[in-house]
């Protein structure tokens, strides 16, 4: 079986699956059961400064988006950082780390953007024996109104400054958790690196309103007739997170900096995808909140199965495998021509491909007597929409036209060589291909 042990920014854990800083990691009771279930590490629910803890709303704090059969696809929350006293959290962190020395124990922190505040809390955390800290510059609601969380994460200079204060004060590895509520994710990542961060983690939650109550005309979750934007997470945010992770992995300035991939990891497959795009491990919140701690067992078995099948001996071998294949649009091969193919044996004749292509694409599917659906090659632009709307996996596939054959849509012979937009005659800025 593949070896899932990882070392992330100098922190060892038996597998790359950590629980993200959130309710699942808010107390020893949870974390101990999570470790028993098999989680490789946790990022403890974000701690604030000493003194009276924050208070949460006393009404609903989550909103949701569902798919078929009420499967939870997206969750949003208006929860703040931990609302338990600092001493209690620190005592529990210490106990749990003592009892579970092989698991990663990272402590998430968020204190006011003042040097003194950060320098005061770090020794207290260090004293617990924790393996590292994560700076929460991501929380998009509540804390940001107080000048913390994403209010810091949206200003690269602040990120760099706070990171530097921490690096100067503590021996512990510093992970900077990034907010996605920003235009260019590379900027805060570069700032973290400049401040000396050992790693970044992303994404935190996305500003969102999940729904509006059509009786009370208020956003959900609704507190006494009012609602506030919350932070969005769960399967729905995975594509955004993957893209951001890949951008940091591809960026020359941050290349090589460890990335903890977060956002919508629900199955082993999601985790593997984050790893290939450059993550060194993953953090999970919503999947655990939806299905309980046991989901990690499927993630562990799935990832090691897949690694065995592929012949990967370690997580490090997987990490970044897909990064070289992430490129800019202008570098995509325009001589790569495919056509949709419908497997008539698998087809259940629902006609969704027809409706999609006929109404909204290129009128490239013919509906023949007996509800037989066939692709008209002379019209098919290979957009993939039919593949995406077909309810039967692998019923519609994209097949490449062999170089030398004629594309009936354009009447042109498919060229064997690679040619992209930068050399295309339609591009006014094209450089001559010859």
């Amino acid at each position: 079986m593949a070896d899932l042990r990882t070392e992330f920014a100098g922190i060892a854990s038996p597998n790359p699956f950590w629980l993200a800083s959130a309710p699942p990691t808010d107390k020893a009771y949870n974390v101990v059961r999570a470790f028993r279930a098999g989680w490789g590490g946790v990022v403890w629910k974000t701690l604030g400064e000493e003194g009276p803890p924050v208070v949460n709303v006393n009404g609903p704090r989550y909103g949701a988006v569902w798919g078929a059969d009420r499967r939870l696809l997206g969750l949003n929350n208006i929860e703040l950082i931990t609302d338990r006293p600092l001493e209690v959290n620190l005592r529990e962190i210490k106990e749990v780390k003592r009892d579970w020395p092989d698991r990663a124990m990272v402590v998430s922190l968020m204190v006011p953007c003042e040097e003194q505040a950060w320098k005061a809390i770090l020794p207290l955390v260090e004293e617990t024996g924790a393996d590292g800290i994560e700076l929460n510059f991501g929380c998009p609601h509540g804390m940001s109104e107080r000048g913390m969380g994403s209010a810091v994460g949206q200003v690269p200079e602040y990120i760099e400054m706070v990171t530097r204060w921490c690096k100067q004060t503590t021996r512990m590895p510093v992970i900077v958790k990034l907010t996605p509520n920003i235009t260019d994710i590379r900027k805060p990542a570069r700032a973290a690196k400049a401040g000396g961060a050992d790693a970044v983690s992303l994404i935190n939650t996305i500003n969102s309103i999940t729904s509006v109550d059509l009786d009370s005309f208020a956003p959900e979750p609704t507190i006494d007739g009012k609602g506030s934007h919350g932070g969005y997470c769960g399967p729905a945010v995975k594509p955004i997170a993957l893209s951001m992770v890949s951008e940091i992995a591809r960026d020359a300035e941050t290349a090589g900096m460890p990335i903890s991939g977060i956002g919508g990891v629900t199955t082993w497959r999601d985790a593997a995808e984050f790893l290939t795009l450059g993550a060194g491990n993953v953090q999970v919140c919503t999947a655990a909140m939806t299905y309980g701690f046991k989901v990690v067992q499927e993630m562990i078995s799935g990832l090691s199965e897949w690694m065995d099948r592929k012949g990967f001996a370690s997580v490090a071998e997987v990490s970044g495998r897909a990064v070289p294949n992430v490129t800019d649009w202008q570098h995509l091969n325009l001589n790569y021509v495919t056509k949709a193919r419908i497997d008539q044996d698998l087809c259940i004749k629902c006609g969704r491909c027809y409706a999609a292509c006929e109404d909204t694409s290129h009128q490239a599917i013919a509906m023949k007597p007996g509800r037989v659906f066939e692709v008209i090659d002379a019209e098919c632009v290979a957009c993939n929409l039919c593949v995406n709307v077909c309810p039967v996996e692998d019923c519609i596939t994209m097949e490449r036209l062999a170089p030398g054959s004629v594309d009936p849509r354009t009447g042109r012979t498919v060229q064997p060589d690679y040619a992209n937009w930068t050399t295309h005659p339609n591009n006014p800025a094209a450089t001559a291909a010859e």
Partner: protein, 449 residues
């Protein structure tokens, strides 16, 4: 309880009192909102969906299921009723396994169709329970139409005509409206007096006068109706049951008569039923008579059909239902004689085994005797009781011949639909479709005039 399933002869009260309600409860209990949401989520919203084509009334099934899944069952009900005003009954009685659900692409994909019938019931029940009638009448046209028969065909026709602004008079021979919905459909498919409740709900459209106890042929002639109304619609069903020459006498009756009595009974424990019951026939009526005989406490019930299983009109689903209720299915045997005892009571029926050959059915020479105290004959219905009331009307085989839009010949203003008219299967939903389409044809004719 003095009798049991073992008591000889044809006697009432074979079961403990509480067993009847249990036995005759809803065959497919209604979906609750959660079940409906889960079932609705399975619909793929197919393009030009095959289920719509398979529904004789062409209900827009993907649309109504989507309306259920988005929390608007009332809108779903409206979508259903626009095409099929008896969508509530059809949801209960349609053999969906041979109609919409057979065509469902998820039947092809997983062998498990979307539960269209039960979803339809969920939607229609929601609206009907709220007492809402979703349609209003168009402006009055001043035209008057007579509808003969208050079965599914007649009711569907009358409702559509009333909606279009015509004044409708229904003449119905029986005491109650509903046709076979009231007198024929198996009890466990339409519980709690649904047939009458549905008619009352349908009549809320207004503009329909219902005259019960008036029979075409006895109280009024077709010529009189055709003369005094702008148009006439015949939805008289097939009021007579065929019998079998040589198999007659005590204990032998028609299955539809048995079911009619059962459906009208207010105390099923008072209904006499044989210990050994034999049903002759191979359709839905045969299955219903057999299953309900078992549910009344008969010990042995057999359905005897003269051809093989594959030719049976009752669907595999119905056959399975019968088998699950302990009914024995006997194939390739036709009745040759009934044997009565010295006291005149029926004792057995004798059947000859037959081979289904290209030249027709051939007796093999072998016979069997099935013990029987009671026989229900279910070999089909016909127009016979009408006598010469329809003597002038052109026939197609044994049914009324219908031409474009459901017109009958040689009249200029008479239409027909449902079981009495040639073409289409003898199903509630087909009767509804034909009644509706005839109404549209009548409307077109009256609007042109």
């Amino acid at each position: 309880m003095t009798n049991s399933s073992w008591t000889p002869g044809v006697v009432p009260g074979r079961l403990p009192a509480e067993a009847y309600a249990l036995n005759f409860a809803d065959l497919h209990p209604p979906l609750d909102p959660h079940e409906a949401a889960v079932a609705a989520d399975r619909c793929y919203f197919c393009h030009d969906a095959p289920c719509i084509t398979a529904c004789p009334t062409s209900i827009d099934i993907p649309l109504f299921i989507r309306q259920i899944s988005t929390g608007t069952p009332e809108a779903a009900a409206r979508t259903i009723f626009e095409q099929n005003i008896l969508g509530g009954m059809c949801a209960r009685v349609c053999p969906t396994e041979t109609l919409c659900e057979e065509a469902c692409v998820r039947e092809a994909a997983e062998g498990k169709p979307v539960e269209i019938g039960r979803l339809q019931r969920y939607a229609t029940d929601t609206l009907m329970k709220a007492g809402v009638h979703p349609f209003t009448r168009g402006p009055a046209t001043g035209k008057r139409v007579a509808v003969v028969g208050a079965g599914p065909a007649g009711l569907s026709c009358a409702h559509r005509l009333a909606m279009l602004g015509h004044d409708v008079t229904i003449v119905e021979a029986k005491e109650k409206p509903g046709g076979l919905n009231e007198y024929g459909i198996a009890s466990y498919k339409t519980v709690e007096g649904f047939a009458q409740a549905e008619v009352a709900w349908l009549m809320q459209i207004g503009g329909i006068e219902l005259r019960n106890g008036v029979a075409l042929g006895r109280d009024v002639t077709l010529d009189e109706l055709a003369d005094s109304y702008d148009a006439v619609f015949l939805g008289i069903g097939l009021p007579g049951a065929y019998d079998i020459a040589g198999v007659a006498g005590n204990g032998i009756g028609s299955a539809v008569e048995f079911i009619r009595t059962l459906r009208q009974s207010t105390d099923l424990s008072g209904l006499p039923i044989g210990r050994n019951v034999v049903v002759i026939g191979g359709g839905m009526t045969a299955i219903d008579a057999a299953v309900q005989s078992r549910l009344l406490g008969a010990e042995n019930v057999a359905v005897v059909y003269r051809r093989g299983r594959e030719r049976m009109a009752a669907s595999p689903y119905e056959q399975e239902l019968a088998a699950s209720k302990g009914v024995r299915l006997v194939f390739n045997a036709q009745p040759v004689a009934a044997h009565h005892g010295a006291d005149g009571a029926l004792e057995a029926v004798e059947f000859a085994y037959v081979a289904d050959t290209p030249e027709g059915l051939r007796e093999t020479g072998e016979t069997i005797r099935l013990p029987a105290d009671q026989v229900h004959v279910a070999i089909g219905q016909w127009l016979e009781p009408l006598g010469d009331a329809l003597a002038d009307v052109e026939l197609d085989g044994t049914k009324l011949a219908v031409f474009e839009g459901g017109k009958v010949a040689p009249f200029g203003n008479v239409w027909a639909g449902g079981d009495c008219a040639a073409g289409g299967e003898d199903l509630t939903v087909t009767a509804v479709a034909e009644g509706r389409d005839a109404a549209m044809s009548i409307h077109a004719a009256l609007s042109a005039a």
